[in-house]
């Protein structure tokens, strides 16, 4: 019985994990076409990626857009999370509904909505349009993460600082901010990955002038599949896994700071 359960679990976990592992293996193939198992291994497709101007341009654009999204969404989201907890109930519910709604509204609806409006202001095909739209999608992750770290905050620490003569701003800067910093950093990492991996909005907003990495991969997948995309995929998986691992670690550490 136990053995049966263990066998089933192993099979299910293989289903979950193997496809991504497979992409990693294909990326080291030496074959010119997609075949499995690879006849020989090599770094050919990584060299192809590093030697292709359009792939590199798309990579830099994605990194730059994601970095800008981190700045915009972390700043706006952190300020909002601080204010949100102290709003009157009715207003708080309405504001939270708007802020978290990008998690529920289907991606295509957001994508064509922003495409419809942004095209009138020349924001299609420009990195700025991508930054603005991606920031709206990233904000829910920042607000939930910062709000969670607020919920675990011991109010006596702030009261103590106030009673010892600190100004409200001084209390915030010297007591509150250091305590919620892990939550802010986790939110920033989520924001980065949200933008870096985003495709549906980019499909409509990229145009010709602002082709992001996922958009470049999409174009490739629709026409010709060569293993360059396996190399790019493997690199992005490693990057996201590292960032998410960092976020996970920060979250754990933040939780430990809050539990007395």
């Amino acid at each position: 019985m136990r053995l049966l359960g263990g066998g089933l679990l192993t099979l299910l976990l293989a289903f979950l994990g193997l496809p991504i592992l497979l992409v990693g293996i294909v990326s080291f193939s030496s074959a010119t076409y997609l075949t499995f198992p690879p006849p020989e291994f090599g770094l050919r497709w990584y060299r192809a990626y590093l030697g292709a101007r359009d792939w590199l341009d798309a990579t830099w654009l994605s990194l730059a857009v994601a970095a800008a999204v981190v700045v915009v969404s972390t700043l706006l989201g952190t300020l909002a999370a601080i204010g949100l907890a102290r709003l009157p109930r009715g207003l708080r519910v309405a504001a939270t509904g708007l802020i978290l709604s990008p998690l529920i509204v289907p991606g295509i609806v957001v994508a064509i909505g922003v495409y419809y409006a942004y095209s009138r202001y020349g924001l299609v095909g420009s990195p700025l349009g991508l930054v603005l739209a991606h920031s709206c999608l990233a904000v829910p992750f920042v607000v939930t993460s910062v709000s969670a770290s607020f919920a675990g905050l011991d109010p006596r620490l702030e009261q103590a600082a106030l009673s010892l003569g600190a100004t409200p701003f001084g209390t915030f800067r010297q007591v509150t901010l250091p305590l919620i910093r892990p939550g802010v950093l986790v939110g920033a990492l989520f924001a980065f990955i949200t933008s870096f991996d985003e495709l549906i909005v980019s499909l409509f907003l990229s145009g010709q002038g602002a082709v992001t990495l996922p958009r470049r991969m999409w174009d490739d997948l629709r026409y010709a599949i060569d293993p360059t995309i396996a190399a790019v995929s493997t690199l992005t998986v490693v990057l996201t896994a590292l960032l998410m691992g960092a976020a996970h670690w920060l979250k754990r550490r933040g939780e430990r700071l809050h539990t007395p």
Partner: protein
């Protein structure tokens, strides 16, 4: 000193922490609200309004949908894919969640295997299935090598490919809420049931399963609503004739048929909201989407 501090603390308002003036919280939230209203909510609403205002205020676009064969076929296909994928993730996800709840030493490993796909972009995971299911993909090669096939089978660009890839992509959204619910079950309950004579299956059916239902419902809601809007995966691995609502919307935008695209968007959004409202009313799962913050 402490006597001097105490009255000040007692006089402090009920709100924890700083003594904020009334306007400060609003001023902090206002920039984000203005940003999102201008750059996200207003654009989406303006687009949706095209469904009601073209050419003059009218409900005609919605009424026409009832007799629109393309729409009805695509809508039925989207709903049936969503139901299949939800059931598939439940069937495969529950045992994994159970394994996670019972694992001791292997838990970190299982957690990495569950979270790695969770952190990988939908595009990369769809690509993985293109590699697996293609004409010269792993699945065909293995079946050929085993002699089960004599020529490659068409797997990619079929409805089955969409369903398999979507189950794979959405599986973590089912596993994590269920594992969370299972972790919160007091282990002494299962021991008590066993002590009172229940067999392993009886304990599972009468104790573990009912107590994990909140997690199951949260997972079902998440997967259902997320798969309703799927676009990338069906477009890449699905068949050309098995459109989802999202694909039809994108196609109509490319044809600049904004009224039709807006009407379909409103239907898609309303369906998602109706499902969420239903689950909230009937099962009381409202917080599922906060958990979806990965």
């Amino acid at each position: 000193m402490s006597e001097a501090v105490a009255p000040a603390l007692l006089a402090a308002p009920r709100a924890p922490g700083l003594n904020w003036r009334r306007a400060v919280p609003l001023l902090l939230v206002a920039p984000l609200l203005a940003f999102m209203l201008a750059l996200y909510a207003a654009p989406v609403l303006a687009m949706l309004s095209r469904s009601l205002l073209e050419p003059a205020p009218t409900l005609a676009h919605y009424i026409e949908l009832a007799g629109d064969e393309v729409f009805l076929k695509v809508f039925t296909n989207t709903l049936s894919t969503t139901v299949t994928v939800t059931l598939g993730t439940l069937l495969l996800g529950y045992p994994i969640a159970l394994g996670m709840a019972r694992a001791r030493r292997l838990l970190p490993l299982i957690l990495v295997i569950v979270l790695l796909p969770f952190w990988t972009s939908v595009l990369v995971r769809s690509y993985a299935w293109m590699v697996l299911l293609g004409r010269h993909g792993l699945v065909n090669e293995v079946l050929l090598a085993l002699g089960l096939l004599d020529r490659p089978m068409r797997l990619l660009n079929t409805p089955l490919a969409t369903q398999i890839a979507m189950v794979h992509i959405l599986l973590p959204y089912m596993i994590l809420p269920i594992a969370n619910a299972l972790r919160q079950i007091d282990p002494s309950l299962a021991r008590a049931a066993a002590g009172l004579g229940a067999g392993p299956f009886g304990v599972f059916r009468q104790v573990t399963l009912p107590l994990s239902m909140p997690g199951v419902m949260a997972g079902v809601l998440l997967v259902f609503v997320l798969s309703l809007g799927f676009y990338i995966t069906p477009a890449l691995v699905g068949g050309p004739r098995d459109m989802t609502l999202s694909m039809l919307i994108a196609q109509r935008v490319e044809q600049l048929d904004w009224a039709y695209a807006a009407t379909l968007s409103a239907v898609l959004l309303a369906t998602a909201l109706a499902i969420i409202a239903l689950f909230q009313r009937v099962f009381g799962v409202g917080t599922a989407f906060r958990m979806s913050a990965r």
